[in-house]
């Protein structure tokens, strides 16, 4: 199946920051999480996809159209929830709903009302007067019901309380199940990534570290507790601490242990947070 979004060799330099080259494809039916340290360029990448800035090199194609081209109709198929919402402060939730819903042919009024009720959003208050958490809830309630093929969420749960975060996760999973769609999400919350992501695209200081299938990534790292630590480096070794070794290539590591007669006392998979931590080091 062709990719819905295709990024090839994308580069952008900003003062002393260099993004890219980045290549990434977003396929239908997938949730891709962009993960990276602060300032790694995740938000910049998303804004480039939305054609809010000009790339220095490389291309972005959205549904076969060049994002920076004359035809802007592809924006009908994308809903963007930015990390920092600009321009909404003067409007009430009701006004914003009136504006946004009219711009999307597939607007789901029932879902909007459900989210407003679930998050207890006051629609008569100006956006600028709402707390950060409530602003985020309203923004999400105005994103999901657009029913676009692709949903781009930049830190969607950063200010949500725990129950709201859970509600949003459930809504997003239902939303994904209802139709063939794709989500790109940036988040520092590993819980979000664990529950939602199919693919993880790791970035560090503007550079792409790798694009991984989440389950494969989880299986590719293992921690071993040993009776003794070998002196030399172990194949696949990522780090060692006292009697533990973390391997990024379990098959090679286990083979080495067998050959060297090193007894593995115990072993366990790493959780996603630890793996990301290792990738970002």
């Amino acid at each position: 199946m062709p990719s819905w979004i295709e990024i090839n060799g994308l580069q952008k330099s900003l003062d002393d920051f260099q993004l890219g080259p980045i290549s990434l494809a977003i396929e239908p039916g997938t949730i891709t999480a962009l993960v990276g340290n602060n300032g790694s360029g995740k938000s910049t990448l998303l804004k480039l996809v939305m054609n809010l800035a000009n790339a220095d090199a490389g291309t972005i194609e959205v549904f076969g159209e060049t994002a920076a081209g004359k035809d802007e109709s592809w924006k009908q198929k994308l809903a963007f929830h930015p990390q920092k919402i600009i321009g909404w402060d003067a409007y009430t939730g009701t006004t914003l709903k009136e504006m946004i819903s009219s711009l999307y042919g597939e607007w789901d009024e029932a879902l909007f009302e459900r989210m407003v009720g679930l998050f207890d959003i006051p629609l008569d208050k100006r956006f600028g007067k709402l707390s950060q958490g409530m602003q985020q809830k309203l923004s999400l309630a105005l994103a999901l019901p657009r029913n676009t093929e692709v949903l781009i969420l930049d830190e969607p749960t950063a200010f949500l309380d725990i129950p709201s975060k859970r509600h949003f996760m459930d809504l997003l999973i239902d939303w994904m199940d209802a139709k063939e769609r794709a989500v790109i999400i940036t988040s520092h919350q590993t819980d979000d990534l664990r529950k939602l992501a199919d693919y993880i695209f790791v970035m560090r200081d503007g550079k792409a570290i790798g694009h991984y299938e989440k389950e494969a990534l989880l299986e590719s790292y293992r921690r071993y507790w040993l009776d003794r630590l070998p002196d030399g480096s172990v194949p696949g070794e990522m780090s060692r601490d006292r009697q533990q070794i973390i391997s990024g290539d379990p098959a090679a590591t286990e083979h080495y242990f067998a050959v060297q007669n090193i007894t593995v006392i115990d072993h366990a998979a790493l959780d996603l947070e630890e793996i990301i931590d290792l990738l970002l080091k």
Binding site: L14, M50, L52, A53, N54, K75, Y91, T95, I100
Partner: protein, 240 residues
């Protein structure tokens, strides 16, 4: 036409959001303008410079200042300056041409009604002005000043596209702009030996049809030129 319709619909949200404040501002400045215009006869008699400056401000800068602060050009992240609506609408499925037109509609709402009211008040308040001008030359006079509003004032609307500007450079540019206007004005006074308004009255009296024609052409050209400039600037800018 659909583009203009959608632009007007979008502009309506911004205009309605602060309508009470905008009407109050309009009432306030109408009263201030009325008080000021009562001394217009002095200008005609003694070439009272402040009137020229007032007119230039009203027809060039004033519409941008009339807009509520929340909708005005402001500093975003880093050195990015723009009007928040330009970013907001680009995140929605709104073509850039529609964004430009919606900004022009909003600028027009803050420009033409007040400027026209001022030009009508001038006729009502100043007996000397009434005596020296015929209906045709008055039409030409109005057309000249509306042309100034579009040709120069709508540069302010186009500038709402914004971009990345160094704050020091921006301050320097503003100083140069003020100095430029001052030099132009001084040179004009020296060459024409009369004020700008007086000169435009003369143009309207002596060549009314030509003034109307040139003004209409200027309005048409300025209106289209500044839209093209704004669209290009939006395409060029990095809203990061």
């Amino acid at each position: 036409m659909h583009t203009w319709k959608q632009a007007a619909w979008l502009a309506g949200f911004e205009l309605k959001a602060r309508i009470k404040r905008s009407l109050l501002m309009l009432a306030f400045y109408t009263i201030v303008g009325f008080i000021f215009l009562t001394s217009f006869d002095n200008y005609l008699a003694d070439n009272f410079y402040a009137f020229d400056l007032l007119f230039l401000l009203l027809f060039i800068m004033f519409p941008a200042w009339m807009k509520p602060k929340i909708f005005q050009m402001q500093k975003m992240d880093g050195d990015l300056w723009t009007v928040p609506a330009v970013i907001m609408l680009q995140q929605l499925p709104v073509p850039k041409a529609v964004i430009v037109k919606s900004r022009f509609i909003i600028h027009s709402v803050y420009s033409f009604p007040y400027q026209l009211m001022l030009l009508v008040m001038l006729l009502v308040v100043s007996s000397s002005f009434r005596e020296m001008i015929t209906p045709l030359s008055y039409t030409a006079f109005v057309a000249i000043w509306l042309a100034v509003s579009v040709a120069l004032g709508f540069a302010m609307a186009a500038s709402e596209a914004g971009g990345t500007f160094d704050t020091k450079l921006l301050a320097k540019s503003m100083i140069y702009l003020v100095l430029g206007v001052a030099v132009f004005y001084a040179a004009f006074q020296w060459l024409a030996d009369e004020g700008l308004i007086y000169w435009t009255i003369g143009m309207a009296q002596n060549w009314p049809m030509l003034s109307i024609g040139v003004s209409l052409l200027t309005i048409y050209a300025g209106w289209n030129y500044w839209q093209r400039v704004m669209k290009k600037d939006i395409e060029k800018a990095d809203y990061l």
